[in-house]
């Protein structure tokens, strides 16, 4: 059996892990620089594709072609996401049910972008083991529907991975915990990541991890917290400086990153300062934790409803929960910890690193599938009811939510017109009574039915939800015993042929080689410095002598001259020179800015937080 790795494909960061054969414990694999988190960011440049930290550094400079949080678009239709498009600096367009992102001269689908992240992790694992890696377990939010799961599986295939299992994130986390301390009882896993929220209630007994109920929101996470802060900052900037930056995508990225940094800081400190230089002015603002809590209170509270529903679905009260485990970076927010404690009546914990625990669990599940662990078994559920549309658009439920998977349901169908040879079925997922309010999964076409009077054919359709939570269907005409052909047209997904084509194409999206990557980064660094210096000269040039201004301008011209050439060393040299030439100006400007509202002793702190 070849090695299987476990991958946490996150909204903000992704990780890859494996189980160490000698210790039997899961570990995450670091990159060459020792970092375990790979930012789920992909930047398309003319020189090639960048991924991870290198791409993240391009977020502000190249907002239109640097894709982040693509997980929120996976398996989604245009209608689902059009409201949040105003927050995304890259161009997203509808295309055959799904969406496409326009970058440079081409269009890419969300699975293709995710595939680039997966491929980078695959290569990281290959470097680590010194052997090819072809199989992986990939985690998804428990509340992901069929289309979102399928899109994730497609991404794996495009990356050249055989996705042997899709595992739910909170369940994976419970496996990681279970391996450390096999305490029996009922646990609640509260998982709030960058873009998704899950709550899962599990019973752990005799090595079996039985999910009793799960609920969530696949469009709620730390990104939404950041957004709430950004909206508030935009207002504040408008009232203080009279400009609205909402349509300036570079400024929006600056604001988003500053908001994220402030949010993270406020999990530890009571106050956070942010200073952002914009064209024409420098914005400075302090945020108190209480202010943040006011901004995100509603979002935090909106996670409690799903928790109550999950408890009710498990036929349990909060007092039945033995422990509450927190997963995902967003669970570091103190307000959230308070709310969770109030709801469950006990202090939640996160003994394992909330950023890594899902990848560790994915590694454990991978090891189980490889036959390395036989003492543990995971019994997961399908998060949403599966049904078919019947007359009048009413949904007839076939498989209720929270049914243990794999599971199957059979249903009989017939024709309504004499001689009819084709029957169309519309399969939906969701809890609403009308098909139009549920998630359309696919349309199935049963064909090759022998012509008979209406109502005569008896077609038995078997719907199977496999251990990945993905739907399969089979059909049989009972009178003739003939298997009916069944064709699936996914409503929000790629067809088999499209995936095939993307697997072929994936070579065209090869990551830029090391040399090219370094050049892009160096050039990018130069661009950042150039912009900052130009701005500084405009805003504070008169604070220094004419001679000094001249020498700064000379250094600026030098850097501009070498920037376009391909000599990385030279670009770096001139960048450093320009930086040195402006050190004094920067100091003078900072002092000037601090005179006033702020005491000068805080200068160092603000410099740091920048």
């Amino acid at each position: 059996m070849s090695r299987i790795v476990g991958i946490d494909l996150g909204t903000t960061n992704s990780l890859v892990g494996y189980v160490d054969e000698t210790t039997g414990l899961p570990r995450v694999i670091p990159d060459a620089e020792g970092r375990v988190l790979l930012p789920s960011v992909v930047s398309f440049t003319r020189e090639g594709v960048l991924v991870g930290e290198a791409a993240k550094r391009l977020l502000v400079r190249r907002p239109a072609t640097t894709i982040y949080s693509v997980k929120r678009l996976m398996g989604r239709g245009y209608e689902d996401i059009k409201e949040e498009l105003c927050y995304l600096p890259f161009k997203v367009a509808p295309c055959d049910g799904i969406v496409k992102i326009q970058v440079e001269d081409r269009e890419v689908t969300p699975p293709q972008v995710s595939a680039i992240v997966l491929k980078s992790l695959k290569e990281r694992a290959e470097q680590h083991f010194g052997e090819p890696i072809e199989k992986a377990v990939i985690t998804v939010p428990a509340y992901f529907n069929d289309s979102q799961r399928q899109a994730t599986k497609d991404a794996g295939r495009i990356a050249g991975l055989d996705v042997v299992r899709i595992v739910n994130e909170p369940t994976a986390a419970s496996l990681a915990y279970g391996l450390h301390r096999l305490k029996e009882g009922v646990i609640a896993v509260y998982d709030l990541g960058g873009g998704t929220f899950d709550i899962s209630i599990l019973r752990v007994k005799d090595g079996v991890f039985e999910v009793l109920a799960t609920n969530g929101n696949t469009h709620l996470g730390g990104d939404d917290f950041d957004r709430a802060i950004v909206v508030w900052l935009l207002d504040d900037i408008r009232s203080k400086h009279g400009v609205y930056l909402g349509r300036d995508s570079e400024a929006m990225q600056e604001l988003r990153l500053a908001a994220e940094a402030a949010k993270i800081r406020l999990s530890v400190d009571e106050r956070a300062a942010l200073t952002i230089p914009f064209d024409g002015f420098t914005y400075h603002r302090e945020i108190a934790r209480t202010e943040l809590e006011e901004l995100i209170g509603k979002l935090v509270d909106s996670t409690l409803g799903p928790c109550r529903v999950a408890l009710a679905d498990a036929s349990l009260g909060s007092s039945d929960i033995g422990e509450v485990v927190l997963v995902g970076g967003s669970t570091r927010v103190p307000l959230l910890r308070r709310r969770v404690r109030e709801l469950f009546g006990k202090t939640p914990h996160s003994q394992l690193n909330p950023d890594e625990v899902v990848a560790l669990g994915a590694a454990v599940q991978a090891h189980i599938l490889a036959g390395g662990i036989t003492s543990m078994l995971l019994l997961d559920v399908t998060p949403l009811s599966l049904g078919i549309e019947t007359l009048g658009g009413i949904v007839s439920a076939l498989i209720p939510r929270n049914t243990t998977i794999p599971t199957s349901a059979r249903e009989m169908f017939t024709t309504s017109v004499d001689g009819q040879t084709i029957v169309d079925l519309h399969v939906v997922q969701g809890e609403r009574e009308l098909a139009k309010d549920c998630r359309s999964l696919a349309r199935f076409e049963l064909s090759g039915i022998d012509p008979m009077p209406a109502g005569m054919p008896k077609i038995e359709v078997t719907f199977l939800i496999d251990a990945n939570g993905i739907l399969q269907a089979q059909a049989k005409e009972l009178r003739t015993g003939k298997a009916a052909a069944i064709e699936v047209r996914p409503t929000y997904g790629l067809t088999e042929a499209e995936v095939e084509r993307m697997v072929e194409e994936s070579f065209a999206y090869a990551e830029a080689d090391v040399e090219a990557r370094l050049l892009i980064e160096t050039r990018n660094e130069a661009d950042t410095v150039i912009t900052h210096v130009e701005r500084a000269l405009r805003q504070g040039g008169e604070l220094v002598s004419g001679d000094e201004r001249e020498s700064i301008r000379a250094a600026l011209e030098e850097l501009r001259r070498v920037r376009a050439a391909d000599d990385r060393e030279q670009i770096r040299e001139k960048t450093t020179a320009l930086n040195r030439a402006t050190e004094h100006l920067a100091e003078v400007m900072m002092d000037a800015a601090l005179k006033g509202a702020l005491g000068s002793k805080r200068a160092a702190e603000i410099m740091e937080s920048k």
Binding site: M1, V164, R165, K205, D206, V208, E210, S302, L304, G305, R308, V309, A312, D313, I368, L369, A370, G371, T374, L377, L378, L379, S385, V395, S396, A397, L398, P400, T403, T404, I405, P406, T407, S408, A409, R410, E411, M412, E431, E433, E460, L464, D466, A467
Partner: protein, 196 residues
């Protein structure tokens, strides 16, 4: 193989759920696809099917009311849901009140609800919820015991009584949901009875 047979159980409503769970875990260890990942494809397909059957059986049997619903279906020889819906039926002793409730519901739908109207609907819902619990207790208690104790020839009457009880339960649940809808509480946190 019916759901009782999956667990090697006789067709009876009294089931020791702790023992059922133990058996479920044991059989899951035998059949779950996770433990057959390295097997040839035919065996994987068999494991998938056996596991799906086991999960369906456990779901149908672990809950005493779902167990009655399943038994009724099984006794009537229907193994898909087709035509299985028990037609909801109002509890005979509450017919008059139901009329009033429907009227109040129609009113609530037509023009908003005032404070007093709300209080009436809430009180009605609480009463019906209590009635629903009673009906469910009767179903899983005396009715189930009666069916288990009857000799096969005398089971038809017991079956009819259980069907009637299920029909009343379905009716009560629908009205309770309608009341909850009318009260506008169906947004968050409240678990609807529909669909299950």
């Amino acid at each position: 193989m019916d759901h009782f047979e999956v667990f090697g159980l006789p067709r009876r409503l009294a089931i020791d759920t702790a023992e059922l769970q133990r058996k479920f875990y044991e059989l899951s260890r035998r059949h779950h696809p996770d433990f057959h990942q390295t097997a040839p494809p035919e065996e994987q397909a068999r494991a998938l099917e056996a596991s799906a059957r086991l999960n369906a059986a456990y779901r149908a049997l672990r809950d005493p009311i779902l167990r009655v619903e399943y038994l009724v279906r099984l006794e009537e020889g229907r193994d898909t849901k087709e035509g299985a819906t028990v037609k909801p039926k109002a509890p005979p002793e509450l017919l008059e009140e139901m009329f009033e409730i429907q009227e109040a519901l129609a009113e609530a739908k037509a023009g908003g609800l005032d404070g007093a109207g709300r209080a009436v609907l809430v009180a009605q819902r609480d009463r019906l919820t209590a009635r629903l619990r009673d009906e469910e207790a009767r179903l899983v208690g005396p009715l189930s015991q009666h069916w288990d104790a009857s000799p096969p020839a005398a089971r038809q009457r017991g079956l009819a009584a259980m069907k009637e009880s299920l029909a009343i339960r379905a009716y009560l649940r629908t009205v309770i949901d309608d009341l909850t809808d009318a009260l506008g509480e169906n947004q968050e946190g409240y678990v609807t009875n529909r669909r299950h």
